[in-house]
């Protein structure tokens, strides 16, 4: 909050109180100069404005987070001390006040003043305190909204990315070419390939705007994606999928594995001529979910080709999404476990979906 806001509110209150007292005093047919009242109230409230601004500036974030215990043990004594100090400063500024009374020393004047003003001081302090808290809540609410909006954007991008991955020229035209070739030799195989391709597209479009999905749904997508790829690789890549049964309901960001697999195919498995291996494993480690994707290929060579930029891009995207969903609570690593094998590992806090997605399953005649 800008210091001018504090000063403005302080000045406004000072004028109002000065006016009120002036009217009161006049009704009692006594005379006091309005300027003196304005000065006294002005110093009072400008001091408070200064104090509140300093509180906001120096301690604002602490006051916003303080719990009930510390509010009582810490903030309450602090508020009393602040009120006392404020009155002391005020009394120092006006050695001639109160008017129409025998002259008093500094401390008696402070006590006289505190008897009248202590409660006002505390009220101002605590009003400021609760105002800061309210502002804090509002800010956090806005931040949460902004993060949610950011997540939505990321998800839409991930979906587009997945659709594009299915439709990326390399994959799309090779698939179409395979179908075209099969049309002449094996019509039903061409049909099957078209069917798989549309099922994959249907699933990736149908997923909607859900951010976290059960691992089971992610794996189903992965299976379909791998079945498609398997056709292109004519079965030379052996696939191995292992998911611990208690992890079927574990929540993962939608389409978190697909870019990793795409990467494994395009930069690992497609670079070798012989038999390859692609292994996906989901297991529980303590209270965390661990996802491993191991592929055989040519290892990681950081100097290799401009392709590597794209290679990084897909994985950077995965990391960005993990960071957004599990700030500080996830790990991501990519490393060569042997000269021809690359392992991508993700660990996440394990959370199971509480309300299972609406399933179609019914029994009937």
């Amino acid at each position: 909050m800008h210091p001018a806001a504090f000063l403005g509110v302080g000045a406004l209150l000072a004028i109002l109180f000065a006016l009120q007292e002036w009217v009161e005093v006049h009704q009692m047919s006594r005379h006091v100069s309005f300027m003196l009242l304005l000065e006294a109230w002005g110093v009072q409230y400008l001091l408070w404005a200064l104090i509140c601004w300093m509180l906001w500036w120096l301690l604002g974030s602490k006051l916003q987070r303080v719990n009930l215990f510390w509010a009582i043990v810490g903030v309450l004594p602090f508020s009393i001390a602040t009120s006392v100090v404020e009155e002391m400063i005020w009394v120092m500024c006006f050695p001639n006040l109160p008017l129409h009374m025998a002259h008093m020393d500094f401390w008696p004047r402070v006590f006289f003043q505190l008897r009248a003003e202590m409660v006002d001081g505390l009220v101002i302090f605590w009003c400021a305190f609760f105002l800061f808290r309210a502002v804090g809540y509002y800010q956090r609410f806005r931040e949460k909204e902004a993060t949610a909006a950011q997540l939505q954007i990321e998800l839409v991008q991930a979906q587009l990315h997945a659709v594009r991955a299915n439709l990326n020229p390399h994959f799309l035209f090779n698939t179409l070419n395979s179908i075209s070739s099969l049309m002449r030799t094996d019509v039903s195989a061409a049909d099957l390939m078209l069917e798989q391709f549309s099922n994959l597209l249907r699933m990736s479009l149908e997923r909607g705007n859900v951010l976290l999905i059960p691992l089971r749904d992610e794996m189903e997508f992965v299976e379909m994606y791998m079945a498609m790829q398997d056709r292109r690789f004519a079965g030379r890549v052996s696939q191995d999928l292992r998911v611990q049964p208690e992890l079927h309901d574990a929540l993962v960001p939608a389409m978190i594995l697909q870019p990793i697999l795409e990467n494994a195919y395009s930069h690992g498995l497609s670079q070798i001529a012989g038999a390859g291996l692609l292994k996906i494993e989901a297991r529980k480690e303590d209270s965390r979910l661990r996802l491993d994707v191991l592929n055989s290929g040519v290892g990681i060579n950081p100097d290799r080709s401009p392709q590597f930029a794209g290679h990084r891009l897909g994985l950077t995207h995965v990391q960005d999404r993990l960071r957004l969903h599990f700030p500080g609570a996830h790990t991501f690593s990519i490393r060569e476990v042997s000269p021809d094998k690359v392992l991508v590992s993700i660990t996440l806090p394990l959370r199971l979906c509480e309300s299972p997605p609406e399933v179609l399953t019914r029994y009937g005649a």
Partner: protein
Amino acid sequence: MIHTVLADDELLARQKLRQMLRQEPEIEIVGESSTALETIELVRLSRPELLFLDVRMPGKDAFSVIEELSSDSAVAMPAIVFTTAYDGYALRAFEIHAVDYLLKPFSSGRLHTSVQRAVQQIHAKQVPALSQSSEATAAQYAKRIVFKSRGRILFLPVGSIRWIGAEENYVRICTDSESHLLREPIGRMEEKLDPQMFLRVHRSSIVNLQYVKEVRTETGGESVVVLLSGQKLAMSRSYRTRINEWLARS
């Protein structure tokens, strides 16, 4: 021959079906229609036993067509295979006992399965092999299960299930060629399946007795159920007596 009508507003969709159905010797196409009204007319006139029906057509949707046909007592309701690009009507289709629900585009393999099921269903109706009483007892058990798997809708006849394995909150349904993971408790599946046909052999598995080859005691002393496919499933002692009873019967 099974008299068949193809209803789809798209010419190419009908053409594809027609060509694919040439591979099916039992199917004879008696007519094609492209709107709801045409379909109703055509079915009334040609009395087909099988109808391939697109859900969305000009005029009324497929369900209104069916409603209209079933209100006409003079027309025997044909077996229905839905063909559509939308999966949203699957449950309604299942509930009105449609034979199958094909999501476009489908392969000839997928169509072949549908045709086989339709043929079976049509023949079963013509030859009432089951007596009334056994039909009544069988009715409380599921004959088919509808679910989504890998972007498809399946109306799976329970007879094609080889075995079912529990995986926590899920069950894995294994057929001859595939396995499907459904979010269902195995206990619920057991309740829904005919005990004459399926047997719980372990806390986490149910077998279709049709596919059981033998029950064997392994060298370690553990009992296993061996399926015709060679697959072995662990068996609990507590279930042993039940399977022995069954073995003694057969």
